[in-house]
């Protein structure tokens, strides 16, 4: 009996065959990126290495800290928990696309979006490693609320959203203040 992949059932295939590349293509921050990738290649690595995106940071690699958060077809995703092949044909947006994710068309002053400016104003970042993923996730959180007619999530909802992000530097108070300031 052979399975769909033409291998004999029960035959252990060599690693090289298991790593045989698949051709994929996705849009990353508006640009098409195509490559042949191994099935096990993580989306986080694809974005950093193939798409050259610096704003995807791998901090924990097991989906707890949220630093690698990107938007895949408009949904927030932990890039370290997705295979690159799964994003074949998808539209991926990182912090470089933050103004679209916030639903703003005009670039803000100093080239910063409203959310980025609020983070700066409130000193909501220190080392900056958790920041890009946090911004992407927050932009999606806020624009989704707006789209559902709930433009002002309360503190409990903001804290629930922030449960998905770890920051070791700031102690969070300024992050909460920055987010609340864009709701005002």
């Amino acid at each position: 009996m052979t399975d769909a992949l033409g291998m004999m059932a029960g035959l252990r295939v060599t690693d090289a065959l298991l790593d045989a590349p698949l051709d994929i293509s996705m849009t990353v921050d508006g640009a098409t990126v195509a490559a042949g990738v191994r099935p096990r290649y993580l989306l986080s690595d694809f974005l950093r290495e193939q798409a050259g995106v610096g704003g995807v940071h791998v901090a924990c690699g097991h989906g707890v800290c949220g630093a690698c958060t990107v938007a895949v077809d408009g949904t927030p995703v932990r890039a370290c928990l997705m295979l690159a092949v799964q994003a074949d044909g998808a539209v991926v947006q990182t912090v470089a696309s933050l103004s679209e994710l916030e639903g703003d068309t005009a670039p803000g002053k100093d080239g910063l979006t409203r959310l980025q400016a609020a983070f700066r104003q409130h000193h909501a970042l220190q080392c900056g490693y958790c920041t890009p993923g946090l911004l992407v996730s927050t932009a999606l959180f806020l624009s989704e609320h707006k789209a559902q007619g709930r433009p002002c999530p309360g503190r409990a909802e903001i804290l629930d959203h922030l449960n998905g992000h770890l920051c070791r530097c700031t102690g969070y108070a300024n992050i909460i203040a920055a987010i609340e300031s864009v709701l005002a």
């Binding site: 009996m1 052979t2 399975d3 769909a4 992949l5 059932a9 252990r12 295939v13 690693d15 065959l17 298991l18 790593d19 698949l22 191994r38 099935p39 096990r40 993580l42 690595d45 690699g61 097991h62 989906g63 949220g66 958060t69 949904t75 927030p76 995703v77 932990r78 370290c80 928990l81 997705m82 295979l83 092949v85 799964q86 996730s137 959180f141 629930d160 959203h161 449960n163 998905g164």
Partner: protein, 282 residues
């Protein structure tokens, strides 16, 4: 923390997914939301030869209301179920439990069925499935079966090889539910959680984290029902829980078995209070 090598196949239908699974048996895993499976792959705790991605199978993301059940497909995401009016109205216990699972980003990808079949010790949903008497639709290569959740989630049970769980059926239970949970830190994995669900005179209680698997607790349910809308005494809850225990107690280095057993009555009481609040505001 990179996965070991594997083949990848994107199933376009349930039939194809099942065929691939059957051919590879223990060497294949289904990939849905990935929130449970991916960390196991990156830490090389799991090393399947084949990953079968089911995310593009059409029609598996529906939440349907049937005459006596709420039916969810394998691609129904946790956040989707949490926000669904059907679930809130007819399976309130599920919605209440989901609000405590992880965080919004994880819930956007993680699936209800994925969480159920992962069946982590202490996880909220498997206990709810047992207590409510949920059923699974299982798609084998040669047949489809509907089995009670207990057949797959109970102590010593597991998901059958070479088969795919395509749907979960929650009994249709209009009525309020209450939920409470204690974790080592808010938003972290639960230590003990309790769901209480009332549908007219039918009361169900689910307790997770005391035994390795979830517990359906009919004696606890009776105690809560008797005193409703007032919360029961802790002593009677503790006694009832003892009666409902099944299998060895569960503990880990952070939260001992003794703590879990002793805190479960407190959590049950709060879940009962939460249900009373929900009932009052309905």
């Amino acid at each position: 923390m990179k996965p070991a090598p594997f083949h990848y196949a994107r199933a376009s239908s349930e039939t194809e997914a099942v065929r691939l699974l059957a051919a590879r048996g223990t060497e294949a895993r289904l990939l849905a939301g990935g929130q449970s499976l991916m960390p196991l792959l990156t830490r090389r705790i799991e090393r399947p030869q084949l990953i079968i991605d089911i995310n593009r199978i059409e029609g598996l993301d529906r939440i349907e209301i049937l005459p006596t059940q709420v039916r969810m497909g394998a691609l129904v995401r946790q956040e989707q179920a949490l926000r669904s009016c059907i679930v809130r109205e007819y399976a309130a216990g599920v919605a209440q439990a989901l609000a405590w699972v992880a965080n919004p980003v994880v819930r956007r990808r993680g699936t209800v069925i994925g969480n159920l079949v992962t069946n982590s010790p202490g996880a909220e949903l498997p206990a709810v499935a047992l207590a409510l008497g949920a059923e699974f639709e299982v798609h084998y290569p040669d047949r489809n079966e509907t089995v009670p959740a207990a057949a797959l989630l109970g102590a010593g049970r597991s998901v059958p090889l070479g088969a795919m769980i395509t749907h979960v059926l929650w009994p249709r239970r209009p009525g309020p539910a209450g939920f409470y949970e204690i974790a080592r830190r808010e938003g972290h994995a639960p230590v003990v959680s309790v769901m209480v669900s009332k549908c007219q005179d039918d009361w169900r209680v689910a307790v997770s984290g005391v035994c390795a698997g979830g517990l359906a607790c009919p004696t606890v349910a009776r105690v809560i029902a008797r005193k409703f809308p007032h919360p029961p005494e802790l002593r009677s809850l503790a006694g009832a829980l003892q009666a409902d225990l099944s299998g060895p107690l569960y503990g880990d280095v952070h939260s001992s078995a003794r703590y879990r057993l002793e805190v479960a009555p407190v959590i049950s009481r709060r879940a009962a209070q939460h249900l009373a609040q929900q009932a009052a505001s309905a």
